[in-house]
């Protein structure tokens, strides 16, 4: 009897232990996603994150743990984002946060990631200051990761492409920089001013304008007055309006550079096809196989949400995957262990191979730019489609301009 009782007790105890360890294993990995749900760029962030989580969960999760995405709409506001971040950490107990494509918002969240000791990755902000702050005070700010190219890298990417496409192919010699006045364009403009002359494009003028500008007529007239071969853009908060006015006014100079809204697949519709001929930098694009994962992702996204992802949809999707990978390697969701694991990230996702710069690099925790890692692409709107024109290994088309554009040396 005693033996039976003992073995029964033992079995029960074992069962309890097993059950509790199973319960532990079943604790979900909670990822808070704070994004601009009303903006085309931001709306893709929670959607792409959810898609990645669903795929990972369908394959059994991470060591038996499911990924749970908790989303917050920040109404494009820094104050709302900070409140969402506090709520995510303090009430919803998330393990890590993915947030925003607006540099001002990310810079507001960075000290909160430090105070609340919660890892945080941005899928789309660009300001150099994000990763510079990590470098300047690593122990405090190490929780922030910059999951998108810095403005400095973006400027470099535009210059690398301009060298091949504009200087070598079209023999262009002069440029005017046109950028909106925002946190992310300050380092971008410094990058442009530095690298454009090096590739052989003389900068004739530099126009910065308020992001709430609606009438671009004086700006285009001023640019035309200095007769440049190309307008190098740095625009994100604006996009539709300057593009439509550029076409309506038949400004005979091509636009080339960063134009975040042009990355949206609805851009041709929003501009009534004024987008034709616009050349913009992206980390990926519909139908462009940057890696074998790019096209399956866009197709799955389209099937689920009815539209193609914005640029930060790609990065948000990759981020969920490499967070899952980091949790697996760390064997834990403990903040410090997760940070250490994320620093060792080497993940081939939809935009290329993601690795982060280390502690000693000026852009600590920003994704590495370069061949074999992430170089970005140049795309152009042609016949209402976004086609890759650079680099040559993924380019499907040659540059093509609407008739009002005068590119003499074809």
């Amino acid at each position: 009897m005693t033996t039976t009782f003992r073995s029964l007790l033992g079995a029960t105890a074992l069962g309890l232990v097993l059950a509790s360890s199973q319960a532990l294993a079943a604790d979900p990995i909670k990822i808070g996603v704070i994004a601009e749900a009303q903006a085309i760029a931001g709306a893709s962030i929670p959607q792409a994150a959810q898609l990645a989580a669903d795929e990972i969960n369908a394959k059994g999760g991470v060591d038996g743990r499911k990924i749970e995405i908790i989303t917050y709409d920040n109404h494009s506001s820094s104050a709302d984002s900070v409140r969402a971040f506090q709520r995510a950490v303090n009430e919803d107990k998330v393990n890590i946060v993915i947030a925003s494509y607006i540099s001002e918002v990310v810079l507001a969240l960075e000290p909160w990631a430090a105070r609340l000791k919660t890892p945080f990755i941005t899928p789309g902000a660009a300001s150099n200051e994000i990763s510079k702050a990590v470098h300047a005070d690593y122990e405090k700010n190490k929780y922030t990761f910059h999951g998108y190219l810095t403005s400095a890298a973006l400027a470099q990417s535009v210059c690398d492409a301009a060298k091949d496409l504009l200087v070598d192919q079209k023999h262009m010699k002069t440029a005017v920089i046109m950028s909106e006045d925002a946190a992310w364009t300050k380092p971008l403009d410094i990058g442009y001013e530095d690298c454009l002359p090096k590739i052989g494009l003389k900068v004739l003028d530099h126009i910065r304008f308020s992001p709430d500008t609606t009438d671009f007529t004086p700006i285009f007239n001023k640019i035309e007055g200095s007769k440049p071969d190309v307008i190098i853009t740095g625009i994100s908060h604006v996009g539709v309006q300057p593009t439509v006015q550029w076409k309506n006014q038949q400004v005979p100079i091509p636009m080339f550079g960063i134009s975040s809204q042009a990355t949206n697949s609805t851009f041709s519709k929003d501009t009534n096809d004024a987008s034709e001929g616009v050349i913009y930098q992206g980390v990926s694009g519909t139908g462009v196989a940057v890696t074998p994962k790019s096209i399956p992702f866009t197709e799955a996204f389209k099937a689920k949400f009815g539209n193609f992802p914005s640029y930060c949809g790609y990065t948000a999707y990759d981020e969920v995957y490499y967070i899952a990978d980091a949790v697996k390697r760390a064997g834990s969701t403990d903040a410090d262990k997760l940070v250490a694991a994320l620093e060792k990230t080497d993940w081939v996702g939809t935009i290329g191979r993601t690795q982060f710069y280390g502690k000693d690099d000026p852009f600590t925790h920003s994704i590495k730019y370069g061949k074999g890692l992430i170089t970005g692409l140049m795309l152009q709107w042609q016949d209402s489609q976004q086609v890759a024109v650079w680099p040559s290994d993924v380019a499907k088309a040659k540059l093509k301009f609407p008739s009002f554009i005068k590119v003499t040396t074809n």
Binding site: Q38, S76, D212, N221, G239, Q245, N248, Q250, T266, K269
Partner: protein, 291 residues
Amino acid sequence: MLALQILIDGFAISALYALGATGFTLIFGVSGVLNLSHGAIMVLAAVAAWAAASVLHLGSYSGALLGVAVAVVASFATYFAVVQPIQKSRRIATEEKEIFILTSTLLWGIMIQELIAYFFTNNAKTVLPIVEGVVNIFGERTTKNEIFTAVVCCVSIGLLWLLVNRTRTGKAVLAASMNPRGVTLLGLELGSIYLVVWGIYGILAGIAGVLLGMFLGVSSYSVGPLTASAFSIVVLGGLGSVSGSLIAAFVVGYLETITAYLISPAYRTIPALLLLVAVMYVRPQGLLGRR
């Protein structure tokens, strides 16, 4: 050359400002209502015209008409759902009604703005232009759309002038703006005059919104700045004075254009706001204000 550019561009934008502000000031002149949902109604018209082309695949004329029609509906909705209940309420003291209307139209505007952002995102939209292409005016390349905008604005304002000064209904509206009690003593129903005014307002705001969508483009973010610009033009010109608003619209439009060309596009709106402050100091009733 630069002077000609400023002259042409300034005219188009000023005419657009004038049309936007006219309806706003007319409503205030006749019924004492400061409609702070003005920007939202303009944006709604533009977004409806955009959606007509992009979603329903209508042509540019039908799209524009639909935009104006939506603005008229929105204008009546503002009157019946927001303004009239407050005007008729017995629980709100008469002297507090103005501030109630001010706040409620502001909230109404925010509701419209959020709905637009919810259904159509807060990214900018542009309305399919009715006329495309460019012409040369003394060597200055000018878009036909810019000329079209200026012409439609001037014609609309001209028609409004004819309506107010040459028709019986218009004269009743004018009389109501001068002395509402006198009008009722003459046996005219003030309620029906208000209806006419809100109808005219809807058409004017609709045309201004659609033209703005064609010329510059709009987004849900434009709601606040549009209301603010109409408000400052009307205050500058003198509350309730249509001719004052017209003059103020051209002053603001040209001041902005000159600043953008000669100083920097980044400082475009600043001098006009400084002027507003200065005028408030020297002449608080505005340029042509009666009180």
